[in-house]
Subunit: 421 residues, 2 copies
């Protein structure tokens, strides 16, 4: 197989299909989504059989349990995929929406129209559910899509691709509106990220290593995030009844997510009061506390106490480990966050009005919170309905990226024969 | 001079200054802008003297008249710069604006806050007025800026930089909020576009060659446009009294601008009626018409008639030359535009309701117009107040880029102690 030739063809087909996807009306797109959902429900046994081929191969190759787990398409996972599509049907169609149409002194009326980005390439790990979620979001937002899932899921992804194409065709949309790359050859990824003539944006979903490689080699713009080094700052004007559950939830609700707190900052004036209470909560979960010298004094006797080094302030543990630092005040907290944060999500706990507003304004992160757990930084919790990913970039989309992040605004002008003087 | 070291220092200083610029309030930013305006008015004789050094050098080096013209800082140009700053003072401050704050079922209230991008690098030709315009827009939008103007303007730009720093300092803002690169060494540009750790976005303003080079070598995202291959399509349901002035204005109002029409498409059903009338208007301006075979028959006898080749459909003439093509209908017009347009600005002239809506929706360009001249695609005409440039990209900003294009939206969460269940 000539990968360059194949990917060039895939790209051309996507570009052509994107025209029809962009002008499809809401009813047509929803019909396609419901047909795909029905086909998945109908062919669940076939999907599980295809998945079994992938799983057998994975076990033979000694894939880690966690990866086998994510690769597995259980009955529950299939039901969740179908529900996800139905939820996307229920979302408002962002495409074609016009806003801010204002008359100008020249007589023209100018506003903006929301339009699809065009062709979106999505590169993800061996998680078959992402194939359907991503296809659904891209269909609803009027984009053509090229999907490249982890090679361990190739059989299952190809079976899903067939059903997606069936749904698109059944609704009168081009089957190439969604293409799942049919080869496990890694060279296909290299082509996908260097075809700006065919692909408008790449959404990479995966580990930091993958994304760094794509950033280094790619020429197509990306919507991406690398790290989630999130902070909670407990101010000396914090309500302790809020601080304790927030600091506990932000660390212990789930360890492996990008919006989990990795560093706790505590104001000196409240540290002796709040840290021992927090330690009791963390001790139950055997959370290792990597504390600076001052916090170590307060936490003396905590069973999982270690010493923080400079490196800890910039580390995403994704584990029951928490860096702890005492700071003088909100100034030092903001300075620390703006230095070490990955600009993902940071929170303050305070009852002080002015400090809450300063934190919201001055912390330069995609999500900034007052008196809430960082775990809320999520498309569903924010009311976006579903998310294709979370962006740490400043250009285009920042934070959880839903349907709107897959669109752009163009200017529209309603004239009456006006010319420029 | 060690360029790498120097640029690294400039970048670090910009990143540090960006924090103070981002949190500056509206009154402080406006004070800085007015102090700069006053300093420019006060030191006009010094600025003209610095400009004279540049002009003497330019004449010695045999610079083309058009370039000398743009390099010249006349009394009128100085007055226009001052007025431009005063207009930026009058614009609403976009920073800190919060929108769409909605309560979620969890109890948190989620919305978005408009924030600066951070550090903006601007690379432009030897036009001293751009130094002040760009600095003004970046100050008002709370960004730190690194300016790199054409080397022919180095004396004048350094004199202006001094006044900008005086204004920033006078308002209590960091003088490094705006830095004008103090060397004409081209290596400085190479550094500027490869410092993503210090620079959040590059806005290149200049010819296609410059921008292509920056795109090839740069690792910092850019807000840019390469071409302006703009179309007017005269539909067979067009009102001829609108079609004639629009097609004439779009071509002849100014030849060298990116929103000038380069290709005219005419529906077959109206071509024999409209083209001879248009030819009379174009003949006065000696506009060369590069027509396809069918249009040539209608235009037979036109004094500046030549034959269009495939290459003409993709050429930006920036001159009194117009490609002319007969099309069957709106379908062929849209297909032609979506193939050959640079996605800058395209217009339809029609009285047909459904076709006007189809054109607006289906033409994939930054500005799409009905019954108006393409020359309106401009920040001032659109009511943005001023523009830093025009973007042909789909990500982030599309079309004329004003203050808002120099900002981003972050999520803000107002909580009351909520944690994730």
């Amino acid at each position: 197989m000539d990968i360059k030739h194949y990917m060039n063809q895939v790209g051309q087909q996507a570009r052509t299909a994107s025209r029809a996807m962009a002008k499809a009306d809401t009813a047509t797109k929803n019909k396609a989504l419901l047909l795909i959902a029905a086909a998945i429900r109908r062919d669940a046994p076939l999907l599980r059989a295809a998945n079994e081929l992938d799983l057998a191969e994975a076990r033979k190759n000694g894939l880690a349990d966690a990866m086998v787990d994510r690769l597995t398409l259980s009955d529950k996972a299939i039901a969740t995929m179908v529900e996800g599509l139905e939820q996307i049907v229920a979302l408002a169609d962002p495409i074609g929406e016009m806003s801010n149409l204002k008359f100008r002194p020249s007589g023209i009326q100018v506003g903006q129209m929301r339009v699809p980005l065009g062709v979106i390439g999505i590169i993800y790990e061996a998680r078959p559910n992402v194939t359907v979620d991503a296809a659904g979001l891209c269909i609803k937002s009027g984009n053509a899509t090229i999907l490249r899932g982890g090679s361990e899921a190739i059989h299952c992804n190809q079976a899903l691709a067939k059903l997606v194409k069936e749904g698109l065709g059944g609704a009168g949309l081009p089957e190439n509106g969604v293409q799942v790359i049919a080869t496990t050859d890694r060279a296909a990824v290299g082509e996908l990220i260097t075809m700006p003539q065919y692909v408008d944006v790449i959404v990479p979903r995966g580990g930091k290593g993958l994304i760094e490689r794509l950033m280094r080699d790619g020429t197509v713009p990306m919507i991406k995030h690398l790290d989630g080094i999130c902070h909670v700052y407990i101010d000396d004007k914090a309500d302790i009844d809020k601080a304790l559950p927030i600091a506990f939830n932000a660390k212990c609700h789930r360890y492996g997510t990008c919006n989990t707190m990795e560093t706790l900052l505590v104001a000196r004036g409240i540290a002796a009061q709040v840290l021992p209470l927090l330690a009791k909560l963390y001790a139950d979960k055997q959370v290792e506390l990597r504390a600076d010298a001052e916090a170590q004094v307060i936490l003396a006797g905590y069973p999982y106490l270690t010493s923080a080094s400079e490196e800890d302030w910039g580390t995403e543990y994704l584990a029951p480990i928490l860096a702890v630092k005492i700071v003088t005040d909100i100034d030092e907290a903001i300075a620390h966050i703006n230095t070490y944060s990955s600009q993902h999500t940071d929170a303050i706990v305070t009852e002080d009005y002015s400090r809450s507003l300063r934190f919201l304004r001055e912390v330069d992160s995609a999500s900034v919170m007052v008196n809430a757990s960082t775990r809320f930084a999520d498309g569903f919790e924010y009311g976006l309905g579903a998310e294709i990913g979370i962006s740490n970039d400043k250009l285009h989309a920042r934070g959880p990226v839903g349907l709107e992040g897959l669109t752009s605004l163009k200017y529209v002008v309603f004239g009456h024969g006006e010319v420029r003087e």
